[in-house]
């Protein structure tokens, strides 16, 4: 198991090796359509996740006209806060009433793993960066609030998203035999796993970008991407 992450080991050489390995197989000029900035990741038997690729993500009230990335069914401002990713760090910029671990936030502050964000009166979101070697973060509602459309969690995908049985994965899929890693580069997602992965029933090459509407499957586990 990896040690608890620190800024020094996050980009440790192991990860560097994975990234290098991954870069080698990527085509110089990516083919295929790029993904939208956000989409829903449906994982059979596990849950549905609102995935955001952008480095700047807005949160606000879910209304028919909303343009925010994370629309929440709650009494919030149209644009209530912005989450900004800078390298491996996340900042929260309040536009409405925002509390971080119970303290009111007036200007941009840095988020740490397991911080509790409160938007408005009582919309509580847990900010987590579970994987020591990935800057991808997850937001979970701790009370009854939800996004529109419904999601079990919000994934802020940096370079990689790891799904699998381990507890430190971004999406914990206990019954899976193997991890699936989704790599994000220039709004394209590529998929890798130690076992053979299929895309819509055909063997998937790690150089083929995944599109919305497609289904990735591996020995009984299935992931689908849907445009929001």
């Amino acid at each position: 198991m990896f040690p608890r992450w620190t800024p020094f080991n996050r980009l440790g050489h192991l990860w560097q090796w994975i990234l290098d390995d991954h870069r080698q197989v990527l085509p110089a000029s990516p083919m295929g359509k790029s993904l939208p900035e956000r989409f829903v990741l449906w994982v059979d038997g596990v849950g549905g996740y609102l995935a955001c690729l952008s480095d700047e993500i807005t949160l606000g009230q879910a209304t028919p006209e909303t343009t925010v990335d994370i629309p929440i069914l709650a009494d919030l401002s149209g644009k209530h806060a912005t989450l900004r990713r800078q390298g491996e760090h996340y900042l929260i910029e309040p536009a409405g009433k925002v509390f971080l671990n119970g303290t009111k936030v007036e200007e941009p502050v840095l988020l740490a793993d397991n911080d509790l964000l409160t938007l408005g009166d009582d919309v509580e979101l847990r900010f987590q960066m579970p994987h020591p070697l990935s800057a991808t973060a997850c937001l979970n509602f701790t009370n009854h609030y939800r996004t529109e459309p419904r999601s079990d969690a919000i994934l802020l995908i940096s370079q990689s998203l790891i799904l699998g049985p381990g507890n430190h994965n971004h999406v914990v899929c206990r019954q899976w035999p193997e991890n699936i890693v989704l790599f994000h580069e220039k709004n394209r997602l590529y998929c890798r796993s130690r076992q053979a992965v299929e895309l819509d029933g055909q063997p998937l090459k790690s150089t083929t970008p995944i599109q919305c509407g497609q289904q990735i499957s591996l020995d009984g586990c299935a992931i689908s991407l849907e445009e929001v």
Binding site: W42, G45, Q128, G220
Partner: protein, 542 residues
């Protein structure tokens, strides 16, 4: 970390990865688009889907179905209860496959929550869970439906409300069980012994509820084993080990887990009466369910004719509204009861002070601040307050119980002797000469009175004892008395006291009347709207 959600009203969700028949984005059932698979139960896949109008639902695909079985489902379609998972519709697709459209619940089921708490839940939480589950099951039983497959994987929590799912599919379950298909070993943990004989009465559900309550309190099922045969054998022969169970729940669990179905609670309603009520103010994850048709003990006459189940002490035949209210009071949280008692004691002290100040001038003692007056006032006040407190304490203790009046009077006599002794010593402590005060009224001379008129300890003790025992004081401190303050009570008390040779006029009359008024003014009184609620409940069953 995003934890895995085996959510939705699936039934026992299989723990292996599954290849779902229908992929995300497909619409096998017209009007609904499948988003993802939730799980596979004993008889069909469950999907999370969104209707064309945007409603989020769970849809269950029933692979093998007979019309007769779907009819069984239809019976449940319109049953509503806050603790039952809502069924929306039963549909058939173009291939004639049956689909059940139902409420979608995200979050973990009880099975997963129990796996996370190997030591069981905290007691308050376990009580709230079992109360919710039993309320839902009792509602099914009242509609003549037996769940038959109660197990933690079928229980969900939605926004603080416990939800029972997968009811009405019992016919399928029994078929597949007899065929020995698709049932995992885990299911046998909740199976009542008589199921082997093919008996599926309401007591089957009562048994499963007993097992679940046991599991939530201890973290383990009472009967476990390596194989299904071993578990079934234990259900048939082993006695559950109740050593670690709180004594408040022992009776209910042991009765629910009786081997002989006829010795168990007859149905969910009867079990519900024997269970403690959850204190929702102390449970932050639970919400108090809205007022549902409140289950009360059914008509005792029916019970006698139908079975020979001995009456549980927790569910006596309730015939009047105040019996019902008393039985509910017994299970109300002790902290609230204590607060109520302390409040009434405080009120009694205030009212006593005011009434004593009024009594002094009437009794011919001017309020002049003289030391003699002050100590007499002090003595009168302490006697008054101690009398009222004794009545309030006993009334509080007795109001939630049924008891024999003679015994209560004897207890009152004992308490009176104590109060009299206290009054005597207070008087001697304050150096009060109460010769004038205690001049025997009339010409009656009682053996325990001193001939010279100077009161003795024995006189005080016995006088007070009689005064306590002669009047049913506790009835004036009862929450369920007909009027909050009935002045006729005060008059009656004064009259009775007048006949007793205890203290001279006018003190005897004034003391008795003012104590009666103080007790009535400070004892808790059940408001009219709650009385009405109990009366309606009782009427429903008679």
């Amino acid at each position: 970390m995003v934890d895995q959600h085996h959510d939705g009203p699936g039934d026992s969700v299989e723990k292996q990865p599954i290849n779902f028949t229908h992929a995300s984005g497909s619409s096998p059932l017209e009007g609904y688009t499948i988003k993802r698979g939730i799980g596979v139960g004993g008889f069909g896949e469950v999907y999370f889907a969104i209707s064309d109008g945007g409603k989020e639902v769970a849809i269950k695909r029933i692979q093998r179905h007979l019309d007769i079985e779907l009819r069984g489902m239809r019976q449940c379609l319109n049953i509503k209860h806050p603790n039952l998972l809502c069924l929306f519709d039963i549909r058939q697709d173009e291939q004639d496959t049956g689909w059940i459209v139902m409420e979608f619940i995200s979050g973990k089921n009880l099975k997963e929550l129990l796996e996370e708490s190997p030591q069981g839940f905290p007691r308050d939480q376990a009580v709230a869970w079992i109360h919710g589950i039993t309320s839902g099951v009792a509602h099914l039983h009242r509609h003549g439906i037996v769940h038959r497959d109660l197990k933690p994987a079928n229980i969900f929590m939605d926004d603080g409300l416990v939800k029972v799912g997968d009811y009405g599919l019992s016919k399928f379950i029994s078929c597949s069980r007899q065929g020995g298909q698709t049932e995992s070993v885990g299911t046998f943990h909740y199976m009542a012994p008589e199921i082997g004989k093919g008996e599926y009465g309401k007591q089957v559900d009562v048994y499963a509820l007993g097992i679940m309550f046991y599991e939530m309190l201890t973290g383990d099922v009472p009967f476990d084993g390596e194989s299904s045969q071993e578990i079934i054998m234990k259900h048939l022969t082993d006695e559950p080990d109740l050593a670690g169970i709180d004594s408040r729940f022992k009776l209910a669990i042991s009765k629910a887990l009786e081997k002989d179905a006829s010795k168990r609670f007859r149905d969910g309603t009867e079990l519900l009466d024997a269970l403690p009520k959850p204190d929702y103010t102390r449970l932050k994850d639970f919400t108090k369910p809205p007022e549902a048709p409140v289950p009360v003990a059914p008509d005792p006459r029916v019970r006698v004719s139908e079975t020979t189940v001995p009456k549980s002490p927790a569910s006596p035949g309730l015939t009047t509204w105040y019996d019902l209210a008393r039985s509910e009071l017994k299970s109300s949280p002790s902290r609230d009861r204590l607060t109520q008692l302390l409040g009434s004691l405080l009120k009694a002290s205030l009212v006593s002070t005011i009434l004593t100040l009024i009594m002094l001038p009437i009794g011919g003692i001017p309020i002049d601040g003289q030391p003699g007056t002050m100590s007499f006032f002090g003595w009168l006040l302490t006697s008054h307050i101690s009398f009222c407190w004794a009545v309030l304490l006993l009334g509080h203790y007795w109001e939630s119980r049924k008891g024999d009046e003679t015994i209560r009077r004897l207890v009152m006599f004992g308490v009176g002797v104590g109060a009299g002794t206290l009054a005597f010593f207070t008087a001697s402590f304050l150096n009060l000469s109460l010769v004038d005060f205690h001049r025997p009224s009339g010409s009656m001379q009682w053996p325990w009175m001193a001939a010279n008129g100077i009161p003795t300890l024995g006189q005080y003790a016995i006088n007070y004892g009689i005064l306590f025992a002669v009047i049913c004081w506790w009835k004036q401190a009862d929450s369920f008395r007909p009027l909050r303050i009935d002045l006729l009570n005060a008059v009656a008390c004064a009259l009775v006291t007048w006949l007793l040779p205890i203290v001279p006029l006018p003190w005897s009359l004034m003391m008795a009347a003012s104590i009666s008024i103080t007790v009535q003014a400070s004892a808790p009184f059940l408001p009219e709207k709650d009385r009405k609620r109990y009366k309606i409940q009782i009427r429903r069953y008679h």
